[in-house]
Each structure stands twice: as structure tokens, then as C-alpha cells.
Symmetry: C2
Subunit: 219 residues, 2 copies
């Protein structure tokens, strides 16, 4: 059984690898996990001996097949837990991450499978992040950022990259929850602004914000 600490390392390596070049650097892990670089180095040796990662000093670390499977299980527990809390207790998408961060280590895979069934085998969590399936399969739906959209493009808000409670609340308060359908009415790179129309209501976002929002073609 992997300890809570090991699960957190593996999940973090998974996420850093996904959002980069497929490798995780010691420093990235250290800051993501809130520990010192030396601590990461020694843990990487441990994980390597457990055959969860392949580690090349001064170069980086990547997950083995077993490590990837463990990461997917932890991510699955996290995301299904988040959705479960939203669906049953009406919690909001800015509240659930913190709770799931702890619960992901405490719920059994059996319980998670029941939650999965209860929720009707959902494909995405409250932030639009895809949910790994119990058989270990995992697909990332195609999408682009709102900033990449051209004027006139119709879209559906499918995923949020910046999951800080502040940004999520900003989106909710701006009438932009997950699933929102709308149309881009302006995208001025020089001005660093994207304006969208949602149900007749126009909202203007800064470019940085627009880059944190993923959309699929709408309507």
C-alpha cells in the first residue's frame, strides 16, 4: 500500500509531466509539494526503488507503468470525490478541491466505484478535468483556450485551468460556470482583451484569464 506521501508525490509527478515535456524536475516537485529540493531527491530514490518512477539525476523523473496506474487511481479518487460532493451536498467548484485533496487518500477504490456508478459514470469533474476510468483508461478531450478563439466563434466552456478559488468564484460571478455556451465578439491581442457574449450579456476578460479557460466548439 502506498502511503499518503507517496500518493501525493506520484500524483504531482503525473501532473507536472502532463503539463510539460513529459518529465518532472526536482525543483518543480519541491515547490508543488511544499518541501525542500533535498527531500524530493531522496524520495525520488525511494520511488525509483519501488519501481514507480525512472529517475535520472540532474535530468528528471518520469512515471513507470505502475506509477502511471497509481497516479490515475489517485486522480480518479480525487475527481470523483469532487463531483460527488457537488452533486450530493451542492458544494461549489471552488470549495471541493481542498476537501478532495484529503479524501483522495481515505476512500477505497470500492467506494469510489460505487460513487462512479451513482453519478452515472461521468466523464469530467466539476472543473472539466477528465476522470480516469476504473479500467485505467484516460482520455483528454480536445479543446483550445478561449484566447485562441477568433471573433464570431461559438464555444462551450469545457474546462478551467486556473482552479484557484478566487478565479473560480470570479467565473461563477461573471455568469461563466462550466458548460456555458457563448460567442466571441472581440479578441484584441494588442489590447490583451477577449470579449464574449453569453445569453445576450457581454463580458470582457483579460488575455491571461482567457488563456486559463478551455472551450470546445459550441452550438
Amino acid at each position: 500500500m502506498a502511503s499518503l506521501t507517496v500518493e501525493n508525490y506520484i500524483k504531482t509527478i503525473f501532473q507536472v509531466c502532463l503539463s510539460g515535456d513529459g518529465q518532472a524536475a526536482t525543483g518543480q516537485l519541491a515547490s508543488a509539494l511544499g518541501v525542500s529540493p533535498g527531500t524530493v531527491t531522496s524520495m525520488l530514490k525511494t520511488l525509483s526503488e519501488s519501481n514507480l518512477v525512472t529517475y535520472t539525476p540532474y535530468e528528471g523523473v518520469r512515471l513507470t507503468h505502475a506509477g502511471n496506474a497509481l497516479a490515475l487511481r489517485v486522480v480518479r479518487r480525487h475527481r470523483l470525490t469532487e463531483l460527488f460532493l457537488v452533486k450530493t451536498l451542492n458544494m461549489t467548484w471552488d470549495e471541493v478541491h481542498e476537501e478532495a485533496e484529503h479524501m483522495e487518500h481515505a476512500v477505497s477504490d470500492r467506494l469510489i466505484d460505487r460513487i462512479d456508478e451513482f453519478l452515472g459514470r461521468p466523464e469530467a469533474d466539476p472543473h472539466g478535468d477528465p476522470i480516469p476510468r476504473s479500467d485505467g483508461s484516460f482520455e483528454i478531450p480536445a479543446s483550445r483556450t478561449l484566447a485562441e478563439c477568433g471573433v464570431g466563434d461559438k464555444f462551450r466552456l469545457s474546462r478551467v485551468i486556473d482552479q484557484s478559488p478566487e478565479f473560480l468564484r470570479f467565473l461563477s460571478n461573471s455568469g461563466l460556470p462550466l458548460g456555458t455556451a457563448g460567442q466571441v465578439v472581440a479578441n484584441r491581442i494588442e489590447a490583451g482583451i477577449v470579449t464574449v457574449s453569453v445569453e445576450g450579456q457581454e463580458t470582457t476578460l483579460g488575455r491571461a484569464a482567457a488563456e486559463k479557460i478551455l472551450v470546445t466548439p459550441g452550438r
Copy 2:
């Protein structure tokens, strides 16, 4: 913040004290927690220094006010979690204890309060154990064992002492879930047998089983 280990010690001390003379002995804690007696002794010193218990070597340990408050919070989290799993996922009373045993350390008090509200501020968990309230109050409803009932007594099954999955499943399969109303039709001490009638159906239990079942006056 109390660690998972500390929470487990405090909860166990609480339970051992309740089911005995108000004191917990080192050996009882060691076997309940599955650790060696020496380990318990050293932890008791730690807990004592944290002012969670008062510890008298060779005599026993009891909870301080702060220790009692912590124990009640852990028990509250455990029991509300159990009931939540039963109500939302239709889990059975023999399945939920194991899950709650882990989740009780992972769910925040804020989340538990929302679960409490969602469930309508229940007074008892799926096993009939009373749920401590968020203000720290805690009452144990009066009851007696089924074995203490006389012939003709009408009862309602209010709580189960032996919470092993096997016993709980036995009760379910015998048509004796929590809340069952019935009547004692025989109680032969010599034979070590108690017979009850539930909805016209008679069931005979051994004395040991009858002592593990608590009832309130029925009808």
C-alpha cells in the same frame, strides 16, 4: 492539528472509558489499536504533554476536557460519515464502518456540518450509536438489552453493540434491521434463548446475541 494517530488514540481511549470504569488501561488500548504495550505507554506521555489526557502510570488514563472534545469531534465525523454513505449510496450497515474509519480523519468539520444539515441533523448512526452535536453536546439514550426484556415486552431495536459485519448481516438476514418493532415471546435463561416475534414471524436468538442488541420500549 492532531495527527491521524493521535485521533485514533483519543477515540479509542474515549470508547474504552465509556464501556468501562471511566479509565483505560494500557493493555486495552494496545489490543484495540493493534500496537504493542510499550508503544502505548510512550504515546500516553505524548498525549499527556499535549494536555489531552491525564495519565497515571500503572493505573490508567482518562481524557481531559480538551481530549474529550477531540474524541467527540472524531466520533461525530465517523458516525455522520457512516450515515451519509448509507443514505446517499445505499451502502449497508455492515459495509460503512471500515470506510468511515479512514474518512473520519480526512473530512473537515465544515464538510461534516454540511453532511449533518443534509441529513437533517440525525441523532443516531446506522448502528444506532448517538451522534455528538457540533456544539459538543452528547447524550446516550436510555435502553436495555434484548436479553433483559421479559416475556410480552414490546420493543424497538434501537442500537447494536456487536458491530462485526457478520453479526450485522445476520441481523439483516433475520429480519431484524435497526428500528424493527417486535415483542418478546420467550426468554428462557436456563436454555440461554430469547425468542421474539416480528410481524408475525418468530425468531430465536442465543443469549449472547440478545445481549448485543439494545432496545427501547415499543409501540
